[in-house]
C-alpha cells in the first residue's frame, strides 16, 4: 500500500510538472513573468538543432514551445479548425499541396521578413505575404544502384522509360489517396503529360505491373530493394535528398550511396511558415520567421530535415553536395489548380490503377 501511495504521489507531482509546462493556453497557471513563450505549431518531421533553438531564446529572452500535430495535412486542418482560438502563435510546415486551403481559410497574418531579399522570387508565391517560404524538397524516383550495376537494363532516366517492357515489375509508388509523396508523384505526371496524357501514362504503368503501397514507409522500407529496404522492387518514389540521407544515416560509414536519383519527373514541394491570426505575439512570431530564414538556420536545415534551404546564398553540407541532387527544373502545378482538382484526380487515378 505504501508503495502504491508513493507511486501515486510521484505521478501527481510529475503530472503537475507536466501541466505546468503546458500552461500556454490553459490560463490556470500564469506563465513566468520574466520570459514570454512563443508556441510553434508544426508537423512530426520538424527538427532544428538545439543551438538554433537556444540562440533564438537567448536573443529574444523568450521560450520556444514546439507543438506537434501529426503529418502536414492534419496539422493544417487542426490550425483551420482552431482558427477562432489559435493553438499557437506561428505555424511551420504548410506545403504547396495544402497552402491554398490554408490561405482560403484565412488563418495567417501578413508578414514581410527582411530576410526575404536573399530568397529567389520563384519561392515567394503569395503576393500578400501571408506565408514565408522556408525550405523546399523534390519528390523524385530513386533507384537501387546495385540492381542496375551491370546495365541490364541500364538505370531508367525518364518517366517514359518506366512503361517500357525492360522495366516491368520494377516500380513501387504510393497511393495518392493516403500519401503526400504519392500525391506529389501523381501531380508530377499531370504536370508532365497534361490533363489528357496522364491517364494514358498511368494505364501504361499499370500494364507494366506497377506496385502501389499505401505510404512512404511501407514503399521504401518494405517494397524497395535499395538501402535497408526489405523488398525486391528497384525503383521507388522518394526524395531527391534520400541518397544523401542513406549516406548520413549509414550504419557503417560509406563513401557511396546505395541509391540514386532519377532527375527526370521530379515534383517540387515548398514548405512555408506563417503567423497565426489571433496571436498576441505577432512581433516575436515575426522574429522567429526571420530566424528560420537566417543563414545559420538555413545552413542547418538540410541535415536536420533532409530538405533544401530556400536562401540562395548558403552552401549545402558536403554530404548533400556529393550525394543529393539539386533538381534544376522541377515540375510544378499552380496551387489553385491542385486545390480545385485534387479530389477528382485521385478518384480517377484510383479507377485507372487500382480497379
Amino acid at each position: 500500500m505504501k508503495r502504491l501511495t508513493a507511486a501515486v504521489a510521484a505521478l501527481i507531482i510529475a503530472g503537475c510538472n507536466g501541466s505546468g509546462d503546458g500552461s500556454g493556453g490553459g490560463g490556470q497557471l500564469p506563465p513566468p513573468a520574466s520570459r514570454t513563450e512563443l508556441v510553434v505549431m508544426t508537423h512530426d518531421s520538424f527538427a532544428l538543432p538545439d543551438e538554433a533553438i537556444s540562440a533564438f531564446e537567448d536573443e529574444q529572452g523568450a521560450t520556444l514551445r514546439i507543438l506537434r500535430s501529426g503529418d502536414a495535412g492534419s496539422m493544417v486542418n487542426q490550425a483551420i479548425l482552431s482558427r477562432e482560438d489559435p493553438l499557437a502563435d506561428v505555424l511551420f510546415g504548410v506545403d504547396s499541396s495544402f497552402l491554398t486551403r490554408a490561405l482560403d481559410a484565412d488563418i495567417f497574418l501578413p508578414y514581410g521578413s527582411r530576410e526575404l531579399a536573399a530568397v529567389p522570387e520563384i519561392f515567394q508565391v503569395d503576393d500578400r505575404q501571408r506565408v514565408t517560404p522556408i525550405d523546399h524538397g523534390e519528390v523524385c524516383l530513386n533507384i537501387d544502384r546495385e540492381a542496375f550495376a551491370n546495365e541490364d537494363p541500364p538505370a531508367p532516366t525518364s518517366l517514359e522509360d518506366l512503361t517500357l517492357p525492360e522495366y516491368r515489375g520494377m516500380l513501387v509508388v504510393q497511393d495518392p489517396a493516403s500519401s503526400s509523396v504519392g500525391l506529389s508523384f501523381l501531380l508530377a505526371t499531370v504536370a508532365r503529360f497534361g490533363e489528357e496524357g496522364w491517364r494514358e501514362y498511368w494505364a501504361g504503368l499499370r500494364e507494366n505491373d506497377v506496385l502501389v503501397s499505401d505510404g512512404w514507409e511501407d514503399a521504401y522500407y518494405g517494397r524497395f530493394s535499395g538501402g535497408a529496404g526489405e523488398g525486391d522492387r528497384p525503383i521507388v518514389v522518394s526524395y531527391a535528398s534520400s541518397p544523401a540521407a542513406e549516406v548520413a544515416f549509414a550504419e557503417t560509414p560509406t563513401a557511396e550511396a546505395p541509391t540514386a536519383v532519377v532527375l527526370d519527373g521530379c515534383y517540387r514541394q515548398v514548405e512555408f511558415a506563417g503567423i497565426l491570426q489571433g496571436t498576441d505575439q505577432a512581433e516575436l512570431a515575426g522574429a522567429f520567421i526571420d530566424h528560420l530564414l537566417s543563414r545559420p538556420v538555413q545552413e542547418a536545415i538540410p541535415l536536420e530535415m533532409f530538405v533544401y534551404p530556400v536562401r540562395g546564398d548558403v552552401t549545402l553540407p558536403e554530404v548533400f553536395l556529393e550525394h543529393a541532387k539539386v533538381v534544376e527544373e522541377p515540375l510544378e502545378l499552380p496551387m489553385d489548380q491542385v486545390e480545385a482538382n485534387r479530389q477528382r484526380w485521385i478518384a480517377e487515378w484510383t479507377d485507372i490503377v487500382l480497379r
Binding site: 489517396a177 526524395y239 479530389q343
Partner: protein, 565 residues
C-alpha cells in the same frame, strides 16, 4: 443454473450506483461525448443546402460507402472467428497446465498487442517479404523462387489481426478458465461423457461469457482497424476508419467525415447492444477456484503432446515475426552489432529529428502510469455499476464505455481541438490530454476484465457471510474484495499495455514535444537510411522488452492477490 441469480444479487442501491457511476460518466461526457459531438456537429452544419439529414443519407447510400462497410464487416468477422479459434487451445494450456516458464510465456503473448502497427507491418514484411529468412532457407535447400510472398491481400490482414488480438482471447478466456473447477468436467467424464462431450456440455457453456467478451473486443478492434489495413492491405480496400481518416485529416471534408463517423459509431453501438443482450442471457454463476488448484504438471504423453503442439504453433505465429524484428535491430552492414542501440542513447544524435530516445521511454512510462491509475479507478467504478445493476442504466453505461473503441482516433483528436477551447477546460495543448485519451481506450479493458468476475461471485458466499454475522461492508470486503482486486490488476495490466502501444490518438492530438515510444518509432521510420531503420527496430525491441517486463510484474502481483482466495 441461471435461475435465481437476480434475486440474490446484492442490488447496488440507486444512490450507490449514482455515486459510483457519476465520475466515470462525467469523464466520458466531458472527454468523449462532448468533443465527438462538437466535431460531428460542425460537419453536419456545414453540409449541403438540403439539410444535414439529406447530406448524411447521400454519403451513406454512396456506392463507395456501401462497399467500404461491406469490407469492414467482412474482414472483422473473419478476423474475430480466426482469432478465437487460434487462441482457445492456448487459453486451455495456460489454464490447465503447470510448466516451466509459464508466466514468462503468458506475459510474452501480450507483446504483439501493444506494438505500433508500423512495427508489426515491418516485422511481417521482413518475415514474409522477398528478403525473408524463410526464402533464404528454401534457397539453401534448392527450392527455386520465393516460397512465401506477402503482397497486400486479405490473408496478410487476417494474419496480422490474429497476431495482434491473440493475447486478448488468451487473457480474457484463460482468466476465467483458470478459475473453473475441473471437478465438474471430471464428474461428467466419470458419468461416461467423452472428453469432447464433457468440454462441449460442461466447460464451454461456462466459458461462453468470456469468449463472447473477448470476441466482442476482437470484433471492435478489427472493425475499426486502421494501421494494419493501411500498411498490409491492398490499396483501395479501406475500412470505415481509413475513410474517416482520409476525409478528415487529408481532405478536411467534414460533412462526409461526420456522416461516416455517425455510421461507424452507430454500427458499433448496435453491435454493443446486441452483445449486451447476449451477455445477459449467458452470465452464469459458477464455482471459482484458485488457479493453483486447477493446474497440473505436464506429465503424461497426451498432455505433453497437447501442450507442445499448442505452444509450438503459438511460437510460430507470435514469436517468429518478433524475432526477425529483433534480428534486424542488430543488423549492421553485413554482420551484427550494437550500432543502432548506441545511436538511440545519443541525446540529440545524428537523427536529431527528436529528443533523446531515452526521453521517449520515460514519457511513455509516465503516461502509462497515469493511465493505469485513471483507467483502473474509473473502470472499477463503472464495472461495479455494470455488474451489480441490471437494466438500462447498466447497459447504457457499458455501451458508452465501449464506444471510444469504436470511434476513430482522428475524430476524437480533432474533436478535442474544437471542443476543449475554453478555460478552465482548455487542455488542447496540455500533455494531460495524452493519458486522458489513453484512458478512454483502456477503460473498456478494465471493465471487460472485471465485470465477468464480479458477476460470477457466488451469492451463496455472501449469504453465508451474512448469516455468520458479517456486516454488508465486511461481506463486500471479504467476499467481493479479493476477486475485484485481482480483476483490477488484470485490467490495470491491459491499461498499461494499451497506453504503451497507443499510437493513433496520440498522433492526432496537438501535443508539446513529449514523444512517446511509438511516435519516436514512427519518426525514425519516416526517413531513409539503414541506421534509421535499425534504430526503429531497436526502439521496437525495447518497447517489447518493456511491455513484457511490466506484464510480468503485474502477473506477480496477481499471483499474490490470488492466494487471498
Amino acid at each position: 443454473m441461471d435461475r435465481g441469480v437476480d434475486g440474490h444479487r446484492p442490488a447496488l442501491s440507486g444512490r450507490g450506483a449514482l455515486l459510483l457511476g457519476a465520475p466515470p460518466l462525467l469523464f466520458l461526457l466531458l472527454f468523449f461525448a462532448y468533443p465527438v459531438a462538437s466535431i460531428v456537429g460542425l460537419g453536419l452544419s456545414g453540409g449541403t443546402d438540403r439539410g444535414a439529414a439529406a447530406g448524411v443519407l447521400d454519403t451513406w447510400l454512396d456506392a463507395r460507402t456501401v462497399e467500404v462497410l461491406r469490407f469492414t464487416l467482412w474482414q472483422a468477422a473473419l478476423s474475430t472467428v480466426l482469432t478465437v479459434l487460434a487462441a482457445l487451445p492456448g487459453a486451455y494450456v495456460f489454464a490447465r497446465f503447470r510448466f516451466r516458464g509459464r508466466r514468462l510465456l503468458r506475459a510474452a503473448t501480450t507483446v504483439p498487442f501493444v506494438l505500433p502497427t508500423v512495427v508489426v507491418a515491418s516485422a511481417f514484411l521482413a518475415l514474409l517479404g522477398p528478403r525473408s529468412p524463410l526464402n533464404d532457407m528454401a534457397a539453401l535447400l534448392g527450392v527455386p523462387g520465393p516460397i512465401v510472398r506477402l503482397e497486400g491481400s486479405l490473408w496478410a490482414i487476417l494474419l496480422a489481426h490474429v497476431f495482434y488480438l491473440y493475447a486478448v482471447v488468451l487473457r480474457l478466456v484463460g482468466g476465467v478458465w483458470s478459475n473453473l473447477d475441473p471437478g465438474t468436467e471430471e464428474a461428467a467424464r466419470v458419468l461416461g461423457a467423452t472428453r469432447w462431450m464433457a468440454f462441449r456440455q460442461v466447460t464451454l457453456p461456462l466459458l461462453w461469457p468470456a469468449i463472447a467478451s473477448a470476441a466482442a473486443i476482437a470484433f471492435l478492434f478489427t472493425f475499426t482497424s486502421f494501421g494494419v489495413i493501411l500498411l498490409l492491405g491492398t490499396p483501395g480496400t479501406a475500412t470505415l476508419e481509413v475513410e474517416i481518416y482520409r476525409t478528415t485529416a487529408l481532405l478536411l471534408d467534414l460533412p462526409v467525415a461526420a456522416a461516416l463517423a455517425l455510421l461507424q459509431m452507430g454500427s458499433v453501438l448496435l453491435l454493443l447492444l446486441l452483445y449486451g443482450r447476449l451477455q445477459d442471457r449467458l452470465t452464469i454463476e459458477r464455482g471459482l477456484r484458485p488457479p493453483a488448484d486447477v493446474t497440473r504438471p505436464v506429465s503424461d504423453r497426451r498432455s505433453r503432446l497437447v501442450a507442445g503442439a499448442t505452444l509450438g504453433s503459438m511460437g510460430l505465429l507470435l514469436a517468429l515475426p518478433l524475432l526477425v524484428l529483433v534480428e534486424r535491430s542488430f543488423a549492421s552492414g553485413d554482420g551484427h552489432g550494437l550500432e543502432a542501440y548506441a545511436a538511440l542513447f545519443q541525446a540529440g544524435g545524428r537523427a536529431g529529428a527528436f529528443v533523446a530516445p531515452a526521453e521517449a521511454i520515460g514519457n511513455s512510462l509516465l503516461f502509462a502510469g497515469a493511465t493505469v491509475i485513471l483507467a483502473s479507478l474509473l473502470g472499477l467504478m463503472s464495472a461495479a455499476v455494470v455488474a451489480y445493476r441490471r437494466g438500462w442504466s447498466s447497459r447504457g453505461l457499458d455501451a458508452l464505455l465501449m464506444l471510444p473503441l469504436g470511434t476513430s482516433a482522428v475524430t476524437l483528436g480533432f474533436g478535442f481541438i474544437v471542443a476543449l477551447d475554453q478555460p478552465p477546460l482548455d487542455l488542447r495543448t496540455s500533455p494531460l490530454l495524452i493519458p486522458i485519451a489513453h484512458t478512454l481506450v483502456a477503460m473498456p479493458f478494465v471493465v471487460r476484465a472485471t465485470v465477468p468476475l464480479i458477476r460470477a461471485i457466488q451469492p451463496r458466499l455472501r449469504e453465508a457471510a451474512a448469516v455468520l454475522g458479517a456486516s454488508p461492508r465486511r461481506t463486500w470486503l471479504e467476499v467481493d474484495g479479493p476477486v475485484i482486486a485481482r480483476a483490477a490488476l488484470v485490467g490495470g495490466g491491459f491499461a498499461f499495455a494499451v497506453s504503451l502501444g497507443e499510437f493513433g490518438a496520440t498522433l492526432f492530438i496537438a501535443r508539446p514535444d513529449v514523444p512517446t515510444v511509438p511516435i519516436a518509432i514512427f519518426r525514425l521510420l519516416g526517413q531513409p537510411g539503414t541506421l534509421n531503420f535499425a534504430q526503429a527496430m531497436a526502439m521496437s525491441t525495447i518497447l517489447m522488452v518493456l511491455t513484457a517486463a511490466a506484464v510480468l510484474l503485474i502477473e506477480r502481483w496477481r499471483g499474490e492477490a490470488a492466494t487471498a482466495f
